[in-house]
Each structure stands twice: as C-alpha cells, then as structure tokens.
Amino acid sequence: MIWLTWRQFRVQAFTAAAALAAFAILLAATGPHLASLYAASGITGCHGGTCGVAASDFLSRLAATGPYPIVYLLGIGLILVAPAIVGIFWGAPLIARELETRTFTLAWNQSITRTRWLLVKLTLTGLAAMAVTEALSLIYAWWADPIGKAIGLLGLGDGSSSHPFEGQFSSVIFATHGITPLGYAAFAFALGTATGALIRRTVPAMAVTLAIFAAAQVAMPLGVRPHLIPSDRTIVTIESAGLDFGNLTATVVPGQPGAWLISSSAINAAGQPVSDLPAACQAAFSGLKPSSPGACLESHGFREVIAYEPASRYWPLQGIETGIFLALALALAGFCFWRLGRRRT
C-alpha cells in the first residue's frame, strides 16, 4: 500500500520538492548578503540606546534595498498559501478522484481493507504536507533571522512601522513561523480529503476546501488567537504608551518589549473610557506644537489602558494554535474513516 501511495503521489511529490528547491535557491542567493548587511549595521556589539537606532537604520536601509522587501513578502505569501495548495491538490482528490473515476472499485477489492488503504494514504500524504510546509517555514526563518532580531531590538511585538517588516506577533508572521505551519498544513490537507469524501467530486471539493481554509486563515488571527490565553491588562501614562492621537490608541506596551498589543483605549481621571480628544486639549493638538496633547492629557489625569500578551507567551500561543489545527485535522480524518466505513459508494 505504501508503494501504491507513492506511485500515485510521486508527481505531486516531485512538484513540491522542485518548488521547495526553487525557494531555497532564491533564499540562499540573497540570504548571505542580507546577513552581511546586518553584520555591517553596527547592531552586533551595540549597547543601550544605540541598538534601537542601529536596528532602525538597518531596517530602513533594507526596505530600500533591491529585492529584500519583495523576497520578504513573497516568502510569507508562499508559506501562507502552501497549506491551501496542499489541501486543494493533495487532499481534495485523494478520495474524490477515486470515486469520480470509479477506481475505488479496483483499490478496495484488493486484499486490503479500505480502512488500511485510507490510513496509509492519509498518514503518508499528510506527513508530506506538514513536512513541506514546515521546511518552507524553516528556511525562510533562517533567511529572515536578521530582520527578526532587528525588530526585536526595537521592542516591536506586532509592530508595523514605515517598512514592510513586522514583529513575531503580527497576523501573518505568527502563522508562518514557529510550529503553526505544521497545524495549518495538516488541517488544510485533512479538510481537502474530508470535503472530497463528502462532495465526491474533485473540482467542487477543491473550491470548497479553498473557501473554508481561507476563512479559517482569516478567522484565526482576527477572532480566535487574541482569546487563546486571557490577555494581561496594564494602565500606563499617556506619554509612555506612545499615543496615536487620532484615535487615542497606544503604539507600544511600556516595559514589555516584544509584547503583542491586542487593544488599548484612553480613560479619563474618573476611569471612564473616552474616544475623543477632550475639548480642552483640542487647541493644543491643532496648535503649533503637535507634541503638546500628551502633556495636556496627562495634566487632565488621562491614562491609557492596554490589553496585551507578553513576549513570553509566544510559544504557548504557538502551541495552542497548532494544537487546535491538529485536533481539527484529526477530527476531519476521523470523518473520512467514518464516511468510507459506511460503505455508501
């Protein structure tokens, strides 16, 4: 059965290996130069306040240098779509094509139960899906390591600034680094297989797989990830929160470098939330000195409430998110076994 699985899968396997190799070559060609830029930036061996300046300079220079922003975004994009491709082209046809071409009558009438047939197929192809996606993520992490270090020195958790580079908690970085790609790949593959088993036609199953997986990819960072571990709460001064005066939200979590800022809002002296600049400070804001609203708000007793996840929760959050997707993948695989076991072909 292992032979048959490989024989039916080898074209896809070679395609995936070729894509992986092409990606690796692209990164290998640009990675050393990126590392040398980092080495020359003065970040190594910096101390105190010079580090932030050096890191900031390095990132700005990188953002303006040839291929780096493009490769940076391309890599993220590839790791994001890899699970979807796996789900569509490896998962959806796994059962659906056998039903469509009626070759299941051949496969399931050899001296092997269809439970075993499915077990071998799901395990081997599923592991391949996870391996390929995680391999993409790992070589990309190697390439982007200097960027991550520089962002770490700036103390940004999910921070976006003028350059395209983002911190470890940003929606896309979190889902493409660490162990989460394993979870996404397993989920997408099992989703494709289960959809194929249910719809019994390859092309519609592919479309449904893509729609559901894309929805899951959007729903996770927006609706689920912020609630996986109850966030910490802190009340800080307006000045320290680096306030964005447009909507009175914080841009950093004071004293928590690399933290994930989930939400923030200003409160007045009485502890009530406020969403607009008080009239007394409007003048200062529109006046000649744009930095004065902070002092004005401080003098009126305003403070900032911030909900955040400290940087130390990065791996627990990675573990939980990956666990959720692996559990979903197992449930979907279980559905496939149940579906085939009911013998309604």
Partner: protein
C-alpha cells in the same frame, strides 16, 4: 454443496428508493452464474453487496461463509471486475500488476505475467490509452491473479465490440476451468450469458424473479399453444409466466414441476432467451398494472 452466495431478505435502499428488495438466494459453488435483468434492475447493487462495496439496509448476506468485504482474508477470496473496468489511467500495465502483487498476499505473478504476454498488452503502456477490450482484460487479469475463490464481474462485456466480447468470454472460461472458480457475471443481454452460464438469476425491478440451474429452468418451463382460453381455467401446478392471445389461439409460457398432460395444448421447449424475456415482460406488465391502479386511485 456449499453456497458461495447466501442471502435472506436482502435489500438496499438509496435514499427512499429501494434498489434491491427481498432478495433471497442460495447459489451453490462451482457454477458460472449469470445475473440478467434490464438496466436499472439492481444488478450492480446486488454485486456491490456481494463484494462488500455496499452494506445492506435489510436482510443478510453471506459470501463464501463470511461477511462481504469484512477483513483482508474475505477480500482476498473474492475478485471483482467493476462495470466498464475502471483502471488507473496514469499507471502503466506493469504498474497495475505491481499494484496487484503488493496488495494481495496470494498474488500469482506467473499467471499475471503469462496473461499479459498472451493478451499482447504492452507492460509500459499507460492504462488510460488501452482500448476498452484491453482494459477489461487488464482488470480481469488483476481479479484472476489474486487467486480468488469467487469472481464477480459486473457487465464485463457491455462496452466491448462483438469480437472483443467473444474473446473476453472465451478467455474468462479458460481461467474458470483452469482455476476452478465460481463466477457471477451480470449482463442485460441474455445472449452474452447463454454460452457461458450454467446457473441463472433473473432480476427485474429490484426483485429476483427466478433463479436456478439453467438445465432445471429449461426443464421446468414449457411453451403451450392451443385454442383460445382463459389462463385462469388451467389446472393447479401450472404457473403462467406469460400469456399472449390472438382471436383463436392462446400461447402460454408456464412453469410446472410435472409434464403437461392436457391434449388440447401443443407443448414445445423454451429457449433460454424467451424464458428470460417472459419474466422480464411479466415484471413490466405488473408494474404497468400497478401504475394504472395508482392512477385510478387518484
């Protein structure tokens, strides 16, 4: 003799429609069984139940004394050739043989290779480019080389031209004789089965109409021709399968256990094809009457 297929009240339903109802059969071993009936009669459903591709919704079925499709050992004992002989289009002939070798502990590699040689199949050719006849031969090779005790073939010759049809059946019979297989094959044409089958099951409208060894069936059915009369006046023990009347004459196809003694009738033998057609039209007539009855009720 041991039964290869034993069913009791077997039924299978697709949503609300019963594809097979109240099927009770006991097919002894060592026969080549023809399963005949019009398209949509439930032949594929019955064969899928025999191979375990489907599970019954009513009644029981035992194949070679075991539950169909349950476990590796049972699967190894039954070979199946599905309708239109599906094969993996992108796998070569040699790949298919390797597939058979890998997935069947009882695989007879010599037999498989011998057949492929004799049938002049190119081992390197992709199965998707084979002709219908070659594809059927390849699928039959897979089914035979696993050395089953029972070989099940669903409409194996339906998509073949007359020459390929004859070759396929001749080849099948050779394999049967050589390996002492029990065989069940279905067709909607009696002519296909007449030459090869010694046991017949007629399935019409999801029900088994008649089943038995061909010689017994032929011995028990007679064609009666005589002056016109009402079939209801016939003596007991005569079961009318079909009746046709002209102004002066009545022709009956009857089933009886003994000889027909009434001198008013001219008794003649029945051809297998006429016998099958009589059961088919009987079922069709019943359905028409049922339909008519329903319309009257409305």
């Amino acid at each position: 003799m041991r039964a290869v297929i034993e069913t009791d009240g077997l039924g299978k339903r697709y949503r609300r429609r019963w594809a097979l109802t109240d099927c009770t059969l006991s097919v002894p071993a060592g026969h080549v069984v023809g399963l005949v009936g019009p398209n949509g009669a439930g032949k594929t459903t019955l064969l899928s139940l025999v191979t375990g591709l489907l599970a019954p919704d009513a009644g029981t079925i035992e194949v070679l004394g075991g539950t169909p499709g349950a476990g590796q050992a049972q699967l190894a004992r039954v070979g199946f050739l599905a309708q239109d002989a599906p094969v993996y289009a992108r796998l070569s002939v040699a790949d298919h043989l390797k597939l058979g070798a890998r997935l069947n502990p009882g695989w007879d590699a010599e037999l498989a290779r011998g057949r492929v040689d004799r049938l002049d199949l190119d081992p390197g050719q992709k199965a998707g480019t084979l002709s219908g006849g070659q594809r059927a031969q390849l699928a039959l090779t897979l089914a035979v080389a696993k050395r089953p005790e029972l070989l099940v073939l669903d409409e194996p010759v339906a998509s073949l031209d007359p020459l390929a049809r004859r070759e396929f059946l001749a080849d099948l019979m050779e394999a049967v004789a050589e390996h002492e297989l029990s065989v069940v094959l279905s067709s909607h044409l009696v002519a296909d089965l007449e030459r090869v089958c010694d046991y017949l099951i007629v399935l019409v409208g999801s029900r088994v109409r008649v089943a038995g060894p061909v010689d017994e069936l032929l011995a028990a059915h007679h064609l009666l021709t005589g002056p016109r009369r009402d079939p209801a006046t016939l003596p007991d023990g005569l079961e009318v399968v079909s009746a046709s009347h002209t102004d002066v004459q009545t022709t009956l196809l009857v089933r009886t256990s003994g000889p027909v003694l009434d001198p008013a009738w001219t008794v003649s033998e029945v051809a297998l094809e006429d016998l099958v057609l009589a059961y088919m039209s009987q079922a069709a007539g019943r359905r028409r009457r049922d339909h008519h009855h329903l319309e009257v009720q409305k």
